[in-house]
Symmetry: C2
Subunit: 386 residues, 2 copies
């Protein structure tokens, strides 16, 4: 096991009716900017619940933060923060709204030239404007970590940021939000969280017994819960387990002391950029090819995953590893997710070369837990996923 440092100060308020407790989590004298997305919260009642909880607070609203939170929109919110002397941010939404709010938390206190350089110069944010979240879509884990992904259309960039100052002060996780989440988004959420665990688990053995078992616990729970929540999004037990699993998948706990991969995400992001394919679905497209291509370096962990998560015990290490990849792909397929690029676009020829070229141009460092995957490797992996 590697050395590690771990601290996660976010307060989780989990369960039915927890939205009302945000009244006591936000300082009474705060001037709050409430941030949200396309307005679904006005249909499912969450907007009303938040407004009621904050009826004794001074609240300004900013809606319209899009999926893949866009810099130009966020800059408009930043203007509101400055003009209105906002002191506290409240994200009410999914990963995109929360990530956008993290950018604003950093940008509000940033004293450099322009806030975009936080992303381009990879400036770690040690202190941001305090913010809380009300999660409306279990998937990304952003509600209990300190990272964010921000998109800028005019330069076609999608960059990451983070820092110990960007943990939400609190996050409300009320599983009842699943009642109104469209089927497609539930499937995406399960797939996203599942792949988050795989990226931190399917690497090479390093003797971190407990981290491995907790990763397997999250995967097993997601597998168990998927058919239940998809059949009935009002199943409270299923919704609770789904929501907590998504948070635990990326709150930092399972990555402590172990190598991590994240190559699937790097390649998947490009498929979203090129074809607008849902983030989670790009992961399901890339993962099987990535694991097949890297079987030799990943086979021990793949075989462990086969045995402990899928109960596949026959054959050699390689046999089990291959069976685990197939079973994972089948799991995605069973939820209705296509796992080949050609099922999303007819125009897939040349995609592998294009992505490889992009990585080369950016001077990509080696991908994967060994940091040794080259743009040539990326080309082959993406081609396998056609």
């Amino acid at each position: 096991m590697n050395n590690f440092e771990f601290k996660n100060p976010t307060k989780i308020l989990f369960g039915k009716g927890q939205i009302e407790s945000i009244e006591n989590e936000i300082p009474k004298d705060a001037k709050v900017l409430m941030l949200f997305g396309g307005g679904s919260i006005k249909k499912n009642g969450i907007y009303e619940q938040v407004k009621t909880a904050l009826q004794n607070h001074e609240v300004v609203e900013f809606g319209g933060i899009p999926a893949n939170p866009e810099y130009s929109v966020l800059m408009k919110a930043l203007k509101v923060i400055k003009e209105e002397n906002i002191t506290y941010l409240l994200a009410v939404g999914g990963g995109s709204v929360i990530d956008g709010t993290k950018f604003l938390s950093a940008a509000a206190l940033y004293e450099g030239e322009g806030p975009w350089e936080i992303l381009t110069n990879k400036i770690p944010i040690l202190k941001g404007m305090p913010f809380g979240t009300v999660l409306t879509l279990p998937a990304t884990g952003s509600e209990m970590n300190s990272g964010a992904v921000i998109t800028r259309k005019d330069t076609k960039e999608k960059l990451v940021m983070g820092g110990t100052g960007l943990y939400p002060t609190f996050s409300v996780l009320d599983p009842q939000v699943t009642h109104s989440i469209p089927h497609r988004q539930l499937v995406n959420g399960i797939t996203d969280a599942f792949t988050h665990v795989l990226e931190q688990y399917i690497t090479y053995p390093i003797g971190a017994a407990l981290q491995d078992r907790i990763s397997e616990s999250i995967l097993q729970t997601l597998i168990e819960v998927a058919p239940k929540i998809l059949a009935d999004p009002t199943d409270h037990t299923a919704a609770s387990n789904f929501m907590w699993s998504c948070t635990m998948a990326l709150n930092g706990l399972i990555k402590q002391g172990v190598p991590t991969d994240w190559a699937i995400h790097a390649m998947g992001h490009e498929l979203t950029a090129l074809y607008g394919i849902d983030h989670a679905r790009t992961l399901a497209v890339i993962a099987p090819s990535h694991y097949e291509y890297n079987l030799e370096t990943k086979k021990e962990k793949l075989a462990q995953y086969a045995e402990r998560v899928w109960n596949i015990t026959d054959g050699s290490t390689e046999d089990k590893a291959r069976a685990a990849i197939k079973r994972t792909e089948a799991f995605f397929n069973e939820m209705g997710i296509d796992t080949k690029l050609s099922q999303y676009t007819d125009d897939y020829e040349g995609t592998a070369e294009e992505i490889s070229k992009r990585f080369k141009k950016r001077g990509m460092e080696g991908l994967g837990e060994h940091q040794n995957l080259t743009p040539e490797d990326v080309e082959k992996i993406v081609k396998m996923s056609y």
Copy 2:
């Protein structure tokens, strides 16, 4: 799953050589009181490592905190804190030193009559003097939670305290400390952590799938690691997994949204008070009888534990539950722990009645996850453990 609130702000510094990083965790202008126990840290090199790390800090020392941290000793430390204008506490030791430091953290800022009333009046501590810990004995989990148990000899009391202000600011977990831990204490540590998980897991099903699986993960890891660390305390991988499992067993994560028991601890504490039996060993004495006595209400979780942790799959729910109890007792026995009170004292007759009488006298509320175990039940359980 029940609603829950969860926040754990302790920063964990895990791994080889992490003691040196405390230099950067304690403010430069702090006046530090370094607290420790009987002096073993002067033999195993940890004292020197801490002193070297803090060579640029102003440090006062207070040694001699005993196992079951004693109020009268702590009151002497409190006098030092006031006289020397201490601003930061550093616990270097196991659960007793850390628990004693938590009491001092609270007492140093307490403005009531006398600090003992923090315990008798169950005053929740929302703010204490900041403190960090260097853990020298994996077992109690105190390094990453906000609770403490304090003993007072003159009144024969052993009381609990806690509050959100009592989380350590940081805790150093260097698995190399296991090298010099006596075999008996390693066995105690494994047993203590194992029982901590059982107390939060062997209750009744409430649909908390992920919490169950994480509890099982900790139990499985402890079972796997026990023979390795006991055979070779310098096995770094085993030591790392042992140490992290002990912390995770009682850092609050696995109790979220689920019922908890803690009756084994309540009864075990009395055996320590009456006969001076090591805390962990009292748990191993009580646990089998407690589970046997409460088989009817606990059988579903016991059977789940049987299947998932011990791979016991034959028979009815009751059969599996009984087999799990037997297997747990055997696990303790295999480590060299006696699980019958008569193996610790010849003078055991009347113990059950005495403990029952004590509970009655204190106006004990019902024990266990259903809060329905009476002093009469306690008498029967303790008698079964003779």
